[in-house]
Amino acid sequence: MANPSGIGASVRRREDKRFLTGRGTYTEDIRRPNETRAYILRSPHAHARIAGIDTADAQAAPGVVAVFTGADMAADGVGSLPCGWLIHNKDGSPMKEPPHHPIARDKVRYVGDPVAVVIAETTAQAKDAAELIVVDYEELPAVASLRAALDEGAAGLHDDAPGNVCYDWHLGDAAAVDAAFAQAAHVTTLELVNNRLIPNAMEPRAAMGEYDPATGEHTLTTTSQNPHVIRLLMGAFVLGIPEHKLRVVAPDVGGGFGSKIFHYGEEAIVTWAAKKIGRPVKWTAERSESFLSDAHGRDHLSKTELALDKDGRFLALRVSTVANMGAYLSTFSTSIPTYLYATLLAGQYRTPAIYAEVKALFTNTAPVDAYRGAGRPEACYLIERLVDTAAREMGIDRTEIRRRNFVPKEAMPYATPVALEYDTGDFARNLDMALPLVDYAGFAARKAEAAARGKLRGIGFATYIEACGIAPSNIAGALGARAGLYESAEVRFHPTGSVTVFTGSHSHGQGHETTFAQLVADRFGIPIDNVEIVHGDTAKVPFGMGTYGSRSLAVGGSALVKAMDKVERKAKKIAAHLMEAAEADIEVKDGRFAVAGTDKAVGIADIAMAAYIPHKFPLDELEPGLDEQAFYDPKNFTYPNGCHVCEVEIDPETGVTRVVAFTAVDDFGRVINPLIVEGQVHGGIVQGIGQALLENCVYDESGQLLTGSYMDYGMPRADDVPSFTVRYHEEAPCTHNPLGVKGCGEAGTIGASAAVMNAVVDALAEYGITHLDMPATPERVWRAINESRPAMAAE
């Protein structure tokens, strides 16, 4: 009988009991004797020179332990927050990497840029004291948006980045694209905005620094998706602390969506300050601070052109994108609009020639970096809006134009013109599964029925492919990555047969404690309750790269399989010894080690006992113990893909758009826990709908954040979305990792925005509306309808 907690079982998330009963341990929950609280004083100006800071009154305020400024950190030789990916310009020169100090030194460059830290007995005292700090700002003109940055004569943020250009990069064959356009029967052009988003993890960022003068050890407890990465970056580049004296712990973390990948200045501030004052220093962001200072997402302006032949086959794609980096380079900011965006511009289609150029600009806004999907939603949105527009212009059904251009499964593995090799995929199957689920044939009747109620109904399709589990390390390194992209795992059997797994990946909502335990339960035929998953502590787990880019199962799970392979190999030898059989005669099935052709068998628990109490053990051949570690560096990305279909109804009087149906058909390769996968897809879709209809980060011209709270930043809520129909198939598993898994964390976000907007434009087609930028807010939709009315009347 199959293990009820094994691969393919919808095991309920084991971690949820503590989360739902309020027994999780988040950074803010941890209390230390003698701890202090830090409050970060932040710039109220988007761009200003700091002429002076007077902290004397603050230092003398009640309860204050210390006040530090950028000058204090400079005096201690504290370095700049590093950028993890070097991009090269078209001419081969390196990008601009201006310094990014944890506390600003001579200049502030966005509203929220730290200018001082006040450390006091209580947060209230720290805040009171911060009001006594006098900062002499000399205000400078602000560059608060990409459009402002593109203006001639825009103010410069960094002396060493003329024109505010970080890099001007390209990918693909421009000449081949030009030649294809010259042959085209039809060219579709579109200008697109990919709206800026604010991540909004449920738990705000927090960090606590501790220093033990007896041992010289620093401990940073932080809301991170990847504690080892933080240890490496902060230890080596910012504070100069060697790894063996720096422990980074990421305990329970309440959501990240990418925003907690990066090394933030606050982490360095509390770690450094804890040693300065000789007491623990804790900082927890307030929600307003999160809005101002978490790395934001997206923010692209793109010009796109698609060349087609007379039958609607794609000949070439040309893309020119301007991407916002914000005021400073966040950890992986530079890789997002390049290697995680332009490389995905083939989508699911056999477009033979693609050329993309991406210019990254500095602006007086919060840093911009990876946010769920990270480059891939931007690519999917661009392609799928363009394909829909082309279909409409050429009079081809939107499903048919996609089908005509799919990379067929027979063509796998398929090398795209933008540097990726898709190992597997069956794109037509996704669409074939989706069409009956959404009753495409019945759409006209639904549209007519909605019209009778005064509503405009539209249907939208989006296909997507994403590249997950970024790898291999050597190729990424050649492209500018400054970190490895492998993952680690250790499988430690205990003497009585229970298991602790140490993984370098990190769970902050993904459910590793369940899914990873299922892999172990399945492999060794043991109850899932006998398996513990440990993650998030550099003192416990081997060096790992953490969780981002839907990589945990594909990379971390594969490392776990490799470690289990090692355990099994050793266990086989022990089993052979125990049963006095030849190792070659041992057969392993569901955790039973049997001698072929006999009824002799031992279980893994017996073997573990023998390994730790090695009375009957091949000591001349094997070491005691059953504890194995493995690192796994993938050969390629994995390529989850799918087809998402959305139906909307629009009230033309008010402009309100309701998502009335949403169907996702996905190929995540092999699925370990369908329940968790479906949950990941649900959350992703909601975030995609959020970007399409509600979410929008807006700065005014002076660089003040207008959407700095939930009063103005529209988050999707449960009643904004319908019940979803979520299906998957396992007919095209990943070919190069041992589990055949691809990743599911970002898929919903990647497909949903495009599907929603294609549905919105479809609903508005009768008004002659061919495009609308996200978010399709009521006012924006109403205005588009209103502005089209005179044109319609004139016809």
Partner: protein, 264 residues
């Protein structure tokens, strides 16, 4: 928040005395606006006078054919109250549409109208239902109570005790929610008393306002079609990143029609 003194008087007289003693004392009702304001350090009262212990401020009762609702009555109690649902169901539904469950279980009628947020719901009902605001020292007609953006006719230290709502023959409230906050971007309350119709708009302007042209049209023809062609001037209406004044003006007509339609 900054430090402040706190007291919880047991009688109306003690509450008023506490509020008049100190210029910087503030009444604390549900705290749905005051507490976030304090947390953001945007206000620094010397003293908070918690009204939750004053029995005179609570509850709903009928009085000469009208409903008298105590200032400290929570939205949830207005929404669920048998008397309100039977006599002025539109008012119960309005209360049910405020914020979320947590807000409705804390926020109060008196707190809402005394704060006079331009996007609050209750002001539309107070004006359209021709209600009277009762304070510790006088009665103020609904039409005269709201005087501007976060401004009312209340004098320093004056406390709202309750609101007296006449019972209409028909009434309804139609709200267009702000996409982010879900406050009223535009909310229209319409009420018919015999031959008279009153229609008040919240959310669209700095303060609640009536639309006399619509009231006149509806008085002679109480159907949505009667006001379909009547628009309010966008000049002077609120504008922000979610809705420019012309969009709000458009929504006033749409929501007014829907409110009339909802009167059945």
């Amino acid at each position: 928040m900054y430090a402040f003194e706190y007291q919880r008087p047991a009688t109306l007289a003690d509450a008023v005395a506490a509020l008049t003693r100190s210029e910087d004392a503030r009444p604390l009702s549900g705290g749905m606006t005051l507490l976030p304001t304090l947390k953001q350090r945007l206000a620094q009262p010397s003293e908070l006078v918690d009204l939750s212990g004053v029995p005179d401020l609570q509850g709903v009762r009928e009085e000469d054919g009208a409903l008298l609702i105590g200032a400290f009555t929570r939205h949830a109690d207005v929404a669920a109250g048998e008397t309100v649902r039977r006599r002025i169901p539109a008012l119960a539904r309005l209360a049910e549409s405020i914020g979320d469950r947590q807000v409705r279980n804390r926020g109060t009628l008196g707190g809402s109208i005394a704060n006079a947020d331009p996007a609050a719901d209750y002001p539309a009902a107070v004006v359209a239902l021709n209600a009277t605001v009762r304070t510790d020292r006088r009665e103020i007609a609904g039409d005269d109570f709201f005087t501007g953006l976060f401004e009312t006719a209340l004098e320093p230290g004056e406390l709202v005790v309750g609101v007296r709502f006449p019972v209409p023959d028909a009434a309804a409230y139609a709200k267009f929610r702000h996409p982010a906050s879900r406050y009223a971007l535009v909310g229209v309350f319409v009420a018919r008393f015999g031959a008279e119709v009153r229609l008040a708009v919240t959310g669209a302007g700095p303060s609640v306002f009536r639309v006399p042209e619509m009231e006149t049209a509806l008085a002679s023809d109480f159907r949505p079609e009667a006001i379909a062609g009547i628009t309010v001037d966008a000049d002077g209406l609120n504008g922000d990143i979610h809705a420019a004044p012309d969009y709000r003006a458009h929504l006033v007509t749409v929501m007014a029609r829907r409110a009339v339609a909802a009167c059945g």
